[in-house]
Amino acid sequence: MTYVIEGKKDSWQVVLGLEVHAQISSKSKLFSVASTNWGSDPNTQVELVDCGMPGALPVINEYCVDQAVLTGLSLNAEIKKMSIFDRKNYFYPDLPQGYQISQFEHPIVGRGHINIEVEGKVKKIGITRLHLEQDAGKSLHDQDIKNSYIDLNRSGCALMEIVSEPDLSSPIEAAEYVKKLRSILRYIGSCDGNMEKGNLRADVNVSVKREGEKLGTRCEIKNVNSIKFIQQAIEFEAKRQVNIIENGEKIIQETRLFDPNKCETRSMRSKEESHDYRYFPDPDLPPLIISDEKVNSLKEQLPELPDKKKDRFIREFNLSSYDAEVIVNDQGTANFFEKLVKGRDSKVVTNWITGEVFSYLKKINKDIKNSGIAPEKIGSLIDLIVDEKISNRQAKEVFEEYMESSDDASIFIEKKGLVQLSDQSEIYKIIDKVLSDNPKMIDDYKNGKDKLFGFFIGQVMKISKGKANPKLVNELLVKRLKE
């Protein structure tokens, strides 16, 4: 379904393009050997070049180049044999050199694309380019009434700016695009995708138009740092633009900021106020040359990417497209699934992962990879259910406790006294007790009150303290009532 904003007069379409800034997961910075470790004391991870000392010179970190190439390859994009670093000039206290080293005319990666899936439909989103650049430091304005402080730990960290074509046309598509991009970046390990730490953030270009019209004037919303905020910012901004145009006014091209507290965007600077960055090739850095051999050897390093993995999971494990998408989104989950599904029913395994395991991970605030959960831990529990040693419901009830215990599933349920009651004569005993305690209900049931069957089941389960094998209870009760 197309996303449409109903204005007072017309229906409006939204056109979106994203510039995603992804910090490269590297040990050291793009042009210095300073550490990129997050959360260290301010200004403790700063080399000469990161604080713009006189005579300091940048030296490219080859690892970061490799990560950009890997990312380009995974975005199905063209890797440029030669790219050029430029200086982007502007004054700001947290920009120590007085310029940011970036790539302007000749980025390291050219056109590519990724696929996103919205409401079961696959849509191809064009990537315009990917370039490498330095991050700035951080200005802290809230530490002191009179003074601002500067932390240069982030100064010089490597960023990839990934620019999309204006192919996105709804907040949900934008969200799916960022999710997919993040998933890919995490698969190849070029960026940890942590939006809370600011390691992944997006500038969102928004414009609106009536159907069939040419592109409208766009506004750029800077530095949005969560997927939810991206959606909210687009929704607000698109409506704001529709109102302006329908009131007979014009959109002014400008840079805006999203305020998550008020859920609105505010003007930051207009195009007239925008900087003249005076880009020019950085004379401290020769052109970056990437050989075919390098590209080929990096190609070999590429893991199976989410789209391919998804297709394979659908094919091999007969997963639904939706389930496969959920499972492959995170590489750790996909690996976990593959180990767990061996010799087990894929549907059951999927349900357990996307149900109990996910909600448990959310509770302990970890991802599957660093949670330390072994696939066998879940597998042995699933096996007990399949073998009817324990009911699904029982398993779910004790799941958290089981996860926290170090016991094997069979030992755990034994200790808990949870072993399922599957002994026919024992179950008959309970059934008979329930029936003899409720003679009137038997009459009512036999006179057509079918619903009472559920009542009898409930009573049996209650007396057995939930241990009775529900399937068996069902079977035996039917038999008894027919007698």
């Binding site: 604080c51 005579g55 010179l57 000039n89 004054f91 007085g98 310029y99 880009y279 004379p283 020769p286």
Partner: protein, 481 residues
């Protein structure tokens, strides 16, 4: 005490080796001489304690026969090279009290070779100037001018370095050359100034003026000294991405190289309007000396020569406008008190930089601005390629190029100050080789009627410093003084 005033580095090395004198004696001689000649204003910062300490270590090494190539040789270090724990100003108020906590590669190489630092030599602010009249620390005087009772400029930007060597305050000094800042002051002060091929010397720790042009080199009394100092200064440095991996020869091999049969190109375009007639004469003499030595002289053409100066004065300021953006009063250096951030930037940079620096920063900012970039900066890059191509073509026909170093001899302090273009014209003959990144040397070749020195320039093929030095030695032997 010996008089070391006219001592060369090579004879000092010999004297030290023969134990005719000690490094401490040498060093103390120069310390006294520097103190006596403060009016020349050659040094911004002196490091006498350090020098004595270094001299003692050198004497010990000489005693123990662990002599390094420049063991015990007192030199001046241009104040553009960051020296660990020693104030480094680049001749600017904005770095008036800046003390680096790191050492430039070039200075480090020299100390590792046993050289001794007497102090940091005066220079045009951020190496922008051709007369050493833009330094925040005052003008430098040319000692040769004083001999004819004139207050003459030593040239620039390495004016303090040149004046110090010329007046015998040190045995040699470092310079940096962006458009002629080694060769022009060497010429004005009667010295040998060598700008090696771009990339030979690391730029790490050398305060940047125009990164694609800046290159360190020695200022010395003789060609042999030039080779000795150059040897110590050069290295491949992984901290400078433009540093060259080209193998480093033994530069003293220039002595074995005969100039016989070499083809010396004489570019007709260097015969510019306003070329001083005395200089023209010396140029002709130079040609005859090479002929006499069996070199082949041929006229060549470097057709884009006249565009070199305007090209240089677009590219160098453009790069400088970004290179000097870091001097903002935020982290180090001079900071003017201010009401808000913009005020801080404006006052810090407004008061921290001198007039010439501000002029070039404005030119640089202008030529990179939207709407002007293509017409100025981009075009200048294209012309720069053409200039390099000129040299490439010329070097198909010849091995070396012989030209005057400057259109005029040293002029009076205060002269050429009214119109910046007049000052910029000083560089007209040195700038082309800078733009092409080629090695070039200025060698004293004669005098004008007032006994002021005239230098000739030899430009070589990339990384062929040895031929340049060999040809320089021919001039030295032929000139008759």
């Amino acid at each position: 005490m010996n008089d070391f005033e006219n001592l060369s580095i090579s004879s000092a090395i010999e004297g030290l080796a023969n134990k005719n004198f000690t490094s401490l004696e040498l060093t103390e001689f120069f310390i006294k001489k520097i103190e006596k000649n403060k009016d020349l204003n050659c040094f911004i910062t002196s490091t006498f304690d350090k020098a004595i300490e270094m001299a003692k270590i050198s004497d010990q090494k000489i005693k123990e026969n662990e002599t390094r190539p420049l063991e015990g040789i007192p030199i001046g270090m241009k104040d553009l090279f960051c020296t660990n724990g020693v104030r480094t100003t680049a001749g600017s108020k904005i770095l008036e009290n800046f003390i680096p906590f790191y050492e430039s590669t070039v200075s480090n190489n020299l100390w590792d070779s046993g050289a001794i630092m007497l102090g940091k030599t005066n220079m045009d602010e951020f190496a922008m100037g051709s007369a050493n009249t833009t330094s925040f620390f005052g003008n430098v005087k040319n000692p040769l001018g004083l001999k004819v009772n004139k207050e003459l400029v030593p040239g620039g930007s390495s004016g303090g370095s040149a004046s110090a060597v010329s007046s015998g305050l040190c045995l040699g000094s470092t310079g940096s050359d962006t458009g002629g800042s080694i060769r022009q002051p060497a010429s004005f002060c009667g010295l040998v100034g060598l700008k090696p091929t771009y990339g030979r010397c690391s730029r790490f720790g050398m305060i940047a003026f125009a990164s694609s042009l800046d290159q360190a080199g020695p200022i010395t009394k003789t060609v042999e000294d030039s080779a000795l100092m150059l040897q110590a200064m050069v290295s491949f440095d992984k901290r400078d991405s433009t540093s060259s991996r080209q193998s480093i020869p033994d530069f003293s091999d220039f002595k074995k190289l005969s100039i016989k049969g070499k083809r010396i190109g004489i570019p007709k375009e260097y015969m510019i309007d306003g070329l001083n007639s005395d200089i023209k004469k010396i140029w002709d003499s130079g040609i005859s000396w090479f002929k006499r030595e069996g070199a082949e002289i041929l006229e060549i053409s470097l057709p884009h020569t006249k565009s070199a100066l305007p090209t240089y004065y677009i590219i160098a300021p453009a790069e400088a406008s970004a290179n000097l953006a870091r001097y903002d009063g935020i982290r180090y250096g001079f900071r003017h008190n201010a009401d808000d951030l913009n005020d801080l930037y404006q006052k810090t940079r407004g008061f921290g930089f001198g007039k010439e620096v501000k002029r070039r920063l404005m030119i640089g900012t202008y030529v990179l601005s939207a709407g002007y970039y293509d017409a100025y900066y981009l075009k200048a890059l294209k012309v720069r390629k053409l200039i390099s191509q000129d040299f490439e073509d010329a070097f198909q026909k010849c091995d070396l190029i012989l030209t005057p170093t400057t259109p005029n001899v040293a002029f009076a302090i205060g002269e050429k100050q009214t119109n910046p273009i007049e000052m910029y014209l000083n560089d007209v003959l040195t700038v082309p080789a800078s733009l092409a990144g080629l090695p070039a040397i200025s060698v004293p070749s004669g005098f004008n009627s007032e006994k002021l020195p005239i230098g000739l320039q030899l430009i070589g093929k990339p990384f062929d410093e040895i031929s340049v030095l060999a040809a320089g030695a021919v001039i030295e032997e032929s000139r008759g003084f």
